[in-house]
Amino acid sequence: MSKFFKSDWFKCITVLLLLSVILGGTLAFLNDLLYVSPKERTQRAIKKIYGVEVTLKDEDILLDVDNGGEEESNEFGSIQKIYKINDDLLFKSTGGQGYKNGTITLWLKVVKTSDNYKIDKVVLDGYEKQTLMSKFSQSYYDKFLIDVTDSYNNGNGIFLFSPKDEVNKLQNPMTGATKSANAACNAVNTVIKYLTDNNFNVGGNA
């Protein structure tokens, strides 16, 4: 038995196990300490869009899946959060059918003009399985703010974005990441479809 405890095999296993336990414990502690809650992430996104922190009241939260709400889905993707900030609507929308069937999640600020709602700002929140995302700069998302009247029309009178859109050049020519661009377009289209289906007056930029 003592031979077993003095063997190299035993030493190797013990050292590796001890290292795993100690380092794992340290990581577990730090994970708790440095945890970023969904609320904090939402505040970060709001700050990125509005430049200041905004305190959300209960009546401003129209939809929040983190607070027990049910996400709104359509053929393009799903909406996880809708906040009413001042007179604007802030959407957190996830578009599907990206690279390797992954997704891209965007924050969209939709502002109310005299008789329309239009997309005013688009900011990236996160993504899944998209390997070329570091090459998508903010200028790419700003392309969703232009007048889309001339772009692809799906035949139902709703103007939707497409990565193969030659007019607005939404397919990033530098990366050639058409599938990721498709997911980004779908995230925006999800919101446009939602606004249309819910009888919002979509016009202007959107």
Partner: protein, 221 residues
């Protein structure tokens, strides 16, 4: 044994620069140098991991059995990379987002494993920490310089500040990354050989002078 700080410093930053001389950590070098800020961010993250992993590996070098040293090193490196990820996500979310996929890939960065294997596992804690620091500085400098050149030429900006509208799209592309890297390596090799030749010449001159003095002494005797 006395630590030769000057040698460790020149080794890490110039003589054995991990990016330009040893050609290690090529993946983040090529992918992340579209902007100078990315270079600094990645460089500092790698420096943190290098220092911490070198110190811990040096401390445990007599405890870790030789047969399992590589898995143990990887375990230690992975822990520090995870700590960097947690810290950046909490404190610098913009940088965390811009580094993206390449941050967890620090685990497989050859520089860190190479320094753990060739230096930290054979030297004391202080020397290992210094080696991590200077190797990290060498890596950061190379990435930042490459990032600055590519950002100026490819985007007409530096550290995100727009300089002019003129830009050459090639430098922002992957092919531009390979080209810039090749030019940097060539320039580094050229200046290294110039310095080395000058040093040899100086040494030879010194040796000749010493020989002449010794000959003179012998003749006097």
């Amino acid at each position: 044994m006395k630590t030769n700080i000057k040698k460790i410093a020149t080794d890490g930053v110039i003589t054995n620069n991990p990016t330009l001389k040893l050609v290690l950590g090529t993946c983040p070098t090529l992918a992340l140098t579209t902007m100078a800020m990315n270079g600094i961010g990645m460089g500092l993250a790698v420096t943190f991991v290098l220092i911490c992993s070198n110190v811990l590996i040096s401390l445990l070098r007599k405890i870790i059995p030789n047969q399992v040293r590589i898995p143990a090193f990887v375990l230690i490196i992975a822990t520090f990379v995870t700590i960097v990820r947690l810290l950046l996500d909490k404190l610098l979310p913009d940088l965390y987002e811009s580094l993206g996929l390449y941050l967890p890939l620090i685990v497989v960065n050859c520089i860190i494993l190479a320094r753990a294997e060739s230096f930290a596992s054979k030297n004391g804690v202080f020397a290992s920490a210094l080696d991590g620091l200077f190797m990290g500085i060498g890596f950061t400098l190379a990435l930042t310089l490459m990032g600055a050149v590519r950002e100026v030429l490819g985007s007409g900006a530096i550290f995100g500040v727009k300089l002019w509208d003129f830009q050459i799209g090639f430098f922002a592309s992957s092919a531009g990354a390979f080209f810039t890297y090749a030019v940097f390596i060539a320039l580094f090799a050229f200046f290294s050989s110039l310095i080395s030749k000058a040093k040899h010449k100086k040494d030879a001159l010194k040796e000749r002078e010493e020989n002449a003095v010794q000959l003179e002494k012998k003749e006097v005797e």
